[in-house]
């Protein structure tokens, strides 16, 4: 992580990297050749292996890592344009190879990177690999994708080394501080020396602004509230951005972000494939796992045909046999519009009312090892919950001229921007708009408008590159800072009741809306740290408590106001102190230029600062060594 201003050598390019769950992309703005809202922008064709011994350039790098057996490939088969020393495969070949040998394939590393139940630095992937496969950590696999992008850039731009350019890496808006920090750590390990993080929905909006080359000012006005609905391959990410006026200029202010929802286009393809497989099974054909994967691919393109052309009623699906008999061994079936409507529109985008909330079942045990996919597949229910939770989000925004309607049960967006390949389908866009507008109509609010002209596949990378450019004061910037306030748990001084957990208070250490490069005040409260022993604190975030300041102590909160995050861990090294001694410290928060939250412990009467780490080892439910309030 480094501060852009600290580096004297001015970058020629602003590079945007979309580190996605299923695909990565890299876009760049040539800052020397850009002027104001006219930008010179490109997308890097990423060299990658597409077959053993064959490298091609593609706009997208599939986020897949394949760990081949030593006898599996001929020598030289892994030769990339810039190196022959690779023992693993990243990109298109990893994906196609992994379809045949899933035990050696790492996929969805990004979802694992923010999975609080596992140790993100431990070699755990592929999770179902046999012992002899050398596994990698979620962190390491992100490092490998990012490294590949850096090397592809350097190969294509030998005159503009990657580490001398400004780089923006995107993350879901819903990433918690630990996942943000892990992403920054992966980028640093991949040789990204001048790196900033940007939330994906913001990147999508930046891309739309950039594409409008100035026209955006005519399409939105002061008082507009933009809802960004970003459904990627693996995650659904929601954000609200208000258009405000400050000193006569239009400004954008990100006011709220949604929860982390592991639900995306891949889930939809899989759901379709399973339905078709059931249909095949009823007619007496049981597809094997290889055929099921082929069926998933076939369903994806059938889905795209049905969603883009309303006059088609059914698309034939053909799953080829594995052997060389193509005609004799193929499975034949079809995907009908009725099935698609039933599964996609009713399953993932049902027309629910505004009071609907995602259904959640109690998790079984704590030992779950798979990814915590969203339990309710309905994107519209997650959207209703988000707008309902954020009903008061606009109350404190300056310059918005917002009159909160009396008795509103949800926040009223006025415009909607879609992002993600799923929304290439006019049917899905229409379904979300109709559902949202029915909620707005029931509260007598005007219908929301659709922002046209978004680039659904590459918007995030493009917007990230454009953001690096506007950071230099060349265009409108989205402000807002952190979208959560953060708290540590303090044991209450109330007398303990036998059989009940001692009540816990939450102390605010970082308020809502901290901008990059700012420090929170030092709270008055002190904590006792035991020298030489790591001490854990329970850590909470809130996406709705906008008014709490550093030092605010909560005795009571609604269950959905505060979410418990991973614990934080502080340790004081024993130098100059007696091990076991209790030292009073204050917890200090700051947001780095790169966009990560940093916590430090500052001992009383000293200028020392000790970094407080996010515990990313997963499943930590330590009770014994909780920090105590003094």
């Amino acid at each position: 992580m480094s501060d852009i201003q600290a580096n004297d050598n001015p970058a020629r390019y602003s590079i945007g990297v979309d580190l996605g769950t299923t695909h990565c992309a890299l876009s760049y703005v040539d800052m020397g050749a850009s002027d104001g809202e006219k930008t010179a922008q490109g997308v890097l064709p990423i060299s990658q292996l597409t077959a053993p011994g064959a490298a091609e350039e593609r706009d997208l790098l599939p986020s897949f890592l394949y760990l081949p057996h030593e006898n599996e490939l001929a020598p030289g088969d892994l030769t990339l344009p810039w190196t022959q020393e690779r023992r693993f495969i990243v990109g298109e070949l990893a994906r196609s190879r992994g379809a045949g040998t899933p035990i050696r394939l790492v996929s969805s590393a990004k979802s694992w990177l923010c999975h609080p139940g596992v140790d993100r630095r431990a070699s755990i992937l592929p999770s179902d690999a046999p012992e002899e496969v050398e596994r990698v950590s979620p962190l390491e696999s992100s490092v490998r994708y990012l490294t590949h992008l850096r090397e592809a850039w350097n190969h294509a731009h030998p005159d503009a080394p990657f580490d001398q350019q400004d780089v923006t890496v995107t993350i879901p808006a819903s990433f918690d501080p630990a996942a943000r920090e892990l992403t920054a750590e992966a980028a640093a390990a991949a040789g990204y020396t001048r790196m900033t993080l940007l939330e994906e929905p913001q990147a999508a909006l930046y891309s739309w602004i950039q594409k409008s080359s100035g026209g955006w000012r005519k399409q939105v006005k002061v008082g507009d509230v933009i809802l960004v609905v970003d459904v990627g391959g693996g995650t659904t990410d929601l954000s609200l951005i208000a258009v405000v006026e400050r000193e006569g200029n239009l400004e954008l202010h990100r006011v709220a972000v949604g929860e982390h929802i592991l639900l995306g286009g891949d889930n939809m393809d899989l759901a379709l494939a399973h339905t078709v497989a059931r249909k095949l099974a009823q007619s007496g054909t049981q597809p094997d796992p290889w055929q099921l994967r082929a069926l998933t691919y076939a369903c994806r393109s059938a889905k795209e045909t049905l969603l883009s052309d309303p006059s088609v009623d059914a698309v034939p699906l053909v799953v080829p046999s594995r052997g060389s008999k193509l005609i004799g061994g193929s499975l034949r079936t079809e995907l009908t519009r009725a099935e698609l409507t039933q599964i996609l529109l009713e399953g993932f985008f049902p027309q629910v009312d505004a009071a609907a909330r995602p259904v959640s079942r109690a998790r079984v045990g704590l030992t779950q090892l798979g990814l915590p996919y969203a339990q309710d597949a309905a994107v519209t229910r997650h959207l209703a919950a988000f707008l309902g939770r954020q009903v008061n989000a606009l109350a404190e925004v300056e310059g918005l001229q917002h009159q909160a309607p009396q008795g509103a049960t949800l926040l009223h967006p006025t415009v909607v921007l879609f992002n993600g390949g799923v929304f290439k389908s006019p049917l899905l866009v229409e379904r979300v708009m109709t559902t949202l507008n029915s909620w707005l109509a029931s509260e007598n609010a005007p219908a929301a408008r659709l922002l046209e002209g978004a680039d659904l596949d590459l918007a995030v990378a493009r917007g990230a590159a454009y953001y690096g450019y506007v950071r230099r004061g060349k265009g409108v910037r989205i402000r807002g800072g952190t979208a959560r306030a953060y708290y540590v748990a303090v044991e209450s001084a109330m007398p303990a009741v036998p059989g009940l957990e001692p009540p816990v208070q939450a102390l605010c250490v970082a308020p809502f809306g901290m901008e990059e490069g700012t420090d929170a005040e030092l709270p008055a409260q002190e904590f006792g740290l035991v020298v030489g022993e790591p001490v854990h604190f329970r850590f909470f975030g809130s996406s709705v408590r906008r008014q709490d300041q550093v030092g605010t102590l909560l005795d009571y909160w609604q269950p959905d106001e505060l979410q418990e995050l991973e614990e934080i861990e502080a340790s004081l090294p024993p130098e100059g102190r007696t091990p076991g001694e209790v030292v009073p410290v204050k917890l200090h928060a700051r947001v780095t230029e790169a966009g990560t939250l940093e916590l430090e412990a500052i001992p009383r009467g000293s200028s020392e600062r000790w970094k407080v780490e996010f515990d990313v080892r997963g499943g930590a439910n330590a009770g014994a060594d909780q920090g105590m309030g003094l």
């Binding site: 064959a54 030289g76 193509l326």
Partner: protein, 198 residues
């Protein structure tokens, strides 16, 4: 006997040139074979040196084969394309399979897959544009010096340009080819490896 048909000694020279040309150059051999199969082919396949009245020395060292005016296509790119068509469209599987006993519905189902895949390969690796952008059936005029490689005249081909006629096929041209780069050790002749499931 027309001007194009050489005399006896000229024919000896051609025979020798052709003999070594056929042995050494596969594409030349192919052209000769096609010539033999099509007796009315209008022109000689390649220029051979004219020995005229020079004394032939058939028993002496054979005459050097004529340097061919044709260039030989590299098989690697062709093999690569074949590999891509097999991988994405199961092209070789489809063409090599005996389709006599299958119903049209079965063949049609497989053809969908082959068509989808072929189209993907074409769009991924080539930028193909029509030679003429006008609609087929449009009447156009060709000026003197038009590109005879890009436009083939048919029918009543007489007189001098400008020629006037209607487009019966728009033609296709490849504006860009993007074939994968190959590792030096890569064996392109394996267009589809055998698969062995462990």
């Amino acid at each position: 006997m027309t001007d194009m048909n050489p005399g006896f000694f000229g024919r000896i020279g051609i025979a020798f040139g052709a003999f070594f040309g056929i042995l050494g150059n596969a594409s030349f051999a192919g052209r000769v074979q096609r010539l033999r199969e099509a007796p009315e082919a209008p022109e000689a396949p390649a220029a051979a040196p004219d020995f005229k009245a020079e004394a032939p020395k058939p028993a002496a060292a054979p005459v050097q084969p004529a340097p061919s005016a044709l260039k030989e296509a590299s098989p690697v790119a062709a093999l690569q394309l074949l590999g891509l068509l097999q991988r994405d469209a199961r092209f070789i599987d489809f063409v090599e399979e005996d389709i006599v006993n299958y119903s049209d519905a079965d063949i049609g189902a497989a053809a969908r897959l082959v068509h989808d895949g072929c189209r993907n390969v074409l769009r991924e690796h080539f930028t193909v544009k029509p030679v003429r952008t006008e609609a087929e059936g449009t009447r156009i005029t060709l000026q003197e010096g038009f590109d005879a490689a890009a436009i083939r005249l048919t029918g009543n081909v007489v007189g001098k340009p400008p020629f006037s006629g209607s487009i019966s096929h728009r033609g296709w041209k490849v504006e860009e080819t993007r074939l994968p780069k190959l590792a030096p050790s890569h064996d392109a002749s394996i267009v589809a490896p055998a698969e062995v499931e462990l």
